[in-house]
């Protein structure tokens, strides 16, 4: 479902051009649970941004669900992100003034889903992550782990084909980390494709495949026996 070929990304800010990604090719199938790993500066975050259609690249091709998304306009990119990609961020990125329910409804607002359906789907998504009873609260009234669960609910509410998580457990303690990883595993078991950037090997153990970046190239790419929670 994700097919990238010879993707190169060069940063040209300041003096020497910096090659962040050097002719990367990668294929991720439907139903996979992939961890993208590597030290900082390895290019894993750049890879994630390109996979999430947040960033452009200098050369190469990107096919998402068989569709060429290499050269989309800003607004075309926005539509594909809205429909096909669910984002989970390290620092949750919830809207502080909105209730939890409104936060989860937001992607559907941008998809012009009618109010009533938005509400039903948001409640269902929140129930899916175990927060069906907190819908009227605001983000500052719940814990970090709960915030990340809200973010996951927001990411899955438009039933995207792939979930992109950027260090989703980076701001969480070890117990909450396991809670979040369990949710990802459950969603993956139900058929959702998950791509997760992490630099923690113990978190990567819960995925089915590890892609290791170093200096802008893929150093290693191997399937692994998933540690089930």
């Amino acid at each position: 479902m994700i097919e990238i070929k010879d993707i190169t990304k060069i940063y040209r800010t300041g003096g020497e051009p910096l090659v962040a990604l050097d002719k990367i090719s990668l294929s991720i199938q439907e139903g996979e649970f992939t961890a993208i790993m590597g030290p900082s500066g390895s290019g894993k975050s750049t890879m994630m941004n390109i996979l999430g259609l947040l960033d452009r690249f200098d050369s190469g091709t990107y096919y998402l669900n068989g569709k060429d998304v290499s050269h989309l306009s800003d607004n075309e990119g926005a539509h594909v992100r809205n429909k096909e990609i669910g984002f989970v961020f390290q620092s949750f990125n919830l809207m502080p003034r909105m209730t939890i329910l409104e936060n989860v409804e937001l992607p559907m607002v941008y998809a012009n889903v009618p109010k009533k359906e938005r509400n039903e789907r948001a409640v269902k998504a929140l129930e899916r992550v175990g927060l069906g009873n907190r819908v009227k609260h605001r983000p500052n009234e719940i814990s970090g782990g709960q915030k990340q669960r809200v973010a996951i609910a927001r990411a899955i509410v438009n039933t995207p084909s792939v979930l992109m998580a950027d260090e989703p457990t980076g701001n969480l303690d070890s117990k909450t980390t396991l809670d979040i990883m369990r949710i990802f595993q459950e969603l993956n078991a139900e058929g959702t494709t998950v791509v997760m950037v992490t630099h923690e090997p113990e978190v990567a153990e819960y995925t089915k495949r590890v892609v290791l970046f170093k200096d802008g190239v893929i150093r290693d790419d191997y399937p692994q026996q998933q540690k089930i929670l």
């Binding site: 999430g52 947040l54 960033d55 607004n75 926005a78 961020f89 003034r97 992607p107 941008y110 012009n112």
Partner: protein, 408 residues
């Protein structure tokens, strides 16, 4: 994203920083309130003045002779007859002069305002209600024969005759400033309430009032020769301009004074034009002040919107990641600045109406705030919101999602 969602988000955002929003609106509030108050008071004053003019008779013309003219240019009875004959629109005409004099009865002496003219003075005297209460007004034969008669007001009668008002047949001695004296018989008493522009003269402060035929005055004071002020009443307002011109032309021809500029006609239409001119100057001035106030207010709104965009950079990045298009973000921030300005405009409107009614109350006029000025306020506040919101909104919409997400 539809308009309702957008509106709700904008309101939420404005309410999230209540104090900041209010301070931002303050420039708009003050500007709009000032405009509404001053327009309301100005319009109220204009209609008050216009109304007074109409009451006084918008269909009267005053013909006057320049002070530079010699006695031979004074208006004569023959001129008046000629005017009447050649201008059919003239309904009534009378000399309309006043002088001060002292009036003595058997009981008391008072300073008096003495009006003198022709019998039509009864109908065209603009400062005196000449409705007859007792007796009659002086007529054409009194006038032609210079009879020693006078008409006084009820208040005058009461002042001079121990409170009695039915004093027809009583005698009065009138003496003017030059010492000329005359004994007159009261032939009529009129209502005689002074009608000044505000309708609030204090009568106890006023001299008493008497009217006498012009010819009687001339007999008493030989220095009075002819008429230097003539009031003409025409049958319709529309005829005012043409009658004014004709009357001046006739007088100039009769006195062989074409082009000398000795005769001038003034009418209330001209006075109204003057009021209109002053008011439109005033309104333009206010509009300029308002424009400056709104400019300053708008810059304040732009400033705070730029701050808001910077503060919410990460929020904008997140929204973009979730599928917000540039248009959606643009609309969101634009709506916010429009809402800020519109709320400011509405508060200003309410404040302005309040100020206008307080000030008008003190000035004893009725404030006049039109639907037009309300709509104008709403339109202009929205326009300011769009104009000064577009730059911050574009800045927000064009943010690079990655940069925005990374922003701390």
């Amino acid at each position: 994203m539809n308009l309702r969602e957008n509106f709700k988000m904008a309101i939420d955002s404005v309410l999230a920083n209540k104090m900041r929003s209010f301070l931002t609106m303050l420039g708009i509030i003050i500007g709009i309130a000032a405009v509404i108050a001053i327009l309301g008071i100005g319009n109220g004053a204009t209609s008050e003045i216009t109304g007074t003019f109409n009451d006084l008779g918008a269909s009267t013309i005053t013909l006057s002779v320049s002070n530079d003219a010699t006695d031979s240019e004074a208006i004569t009875d023959a001129d008046v007859t000629a005017l009447k004959e050649s201008i059919p629109e003239i309904e009534r005409v009378s000399a309309n002069n006043t002088t001060s004099a002292s009036v003595r009865s058997d009981f008391d002496t008072r300073d008096a305002l003495l009006s003198y003219g022709m019998p039509d003075l009864q109908y065209i005297n603009q400062t005196m209600d000449s409705t007859i209460v007792y007796g009659r007004y002086f007529n054409q034969s009194d006038y032609l024969d210079s009879k020693d008669v006078t008409v006084i007001s009820e208040d005058t009668a009461a002042a001079l005759f121990n409170g009695q008002t039915d004093v027809v047949g009583e005698q009065l001695k009138i003496s003017d400033n030059a010492g000329n004296q005359s004994d007159l018989t009261v032939i009529g008493v009129v209502k005689g309430t002074f009608q000044d522009l505000q309708g609030s003269f204090d009568l106890s402060q006023m001299p008493v009032y008497a009217a006498v035929p012009l010819t009687t005055m001339e007999k008493m004071n030989p220095t009075i020769k002819g008429i230097n002020s003539l009031t003409i009443q025409v049958d319709s307002k529309d005829a005012i301009e043409s009658v004014s011109k004709q009357a001046v032309r006739i007088l100039e021809t009769r006195h062989d004074a074409v082009g000398e500029d000795w005769y001038s006609a003034t009418n209330f239409l001209q006075a109204l034009d003057q009021v209109d001119n002053v008011m439109s100057l005033f309104i333009n001035f206010i509009a300029a002040v308002a424009a400056i106030a709104l400019l300053v207010g708008g810059i304040g709104v732009m400033n705070i919107m730029l701050v808001s965009v910077t503060e919410r950079t990460r929020e904008i990045g997140t929204r973009k990641a979730l599928g917000a298009t540039t248009g959606t973000i643009l609309a969101q921030f634009l709506m916010e600045s429009v809402i800020l300005c519109l709320i400011g405009g509405i508060i200003g409107l309410v404040l302005g109406i309040f100020l206008a009614s307080v000030v008008s109350n003190a000035l004893d006029i009725v404030p006049n705030i039109t639907i037009g000025s309300v709509l104008l306020v709403l339109f202009f506040s929205s326009a300011v919101g769009i104009f000064f919101g577009i730059y911050p909104a574009r800045k927000a919409a064009r943010l690079d999602p990655i940069e925005a997400l990374r922003y701390e």
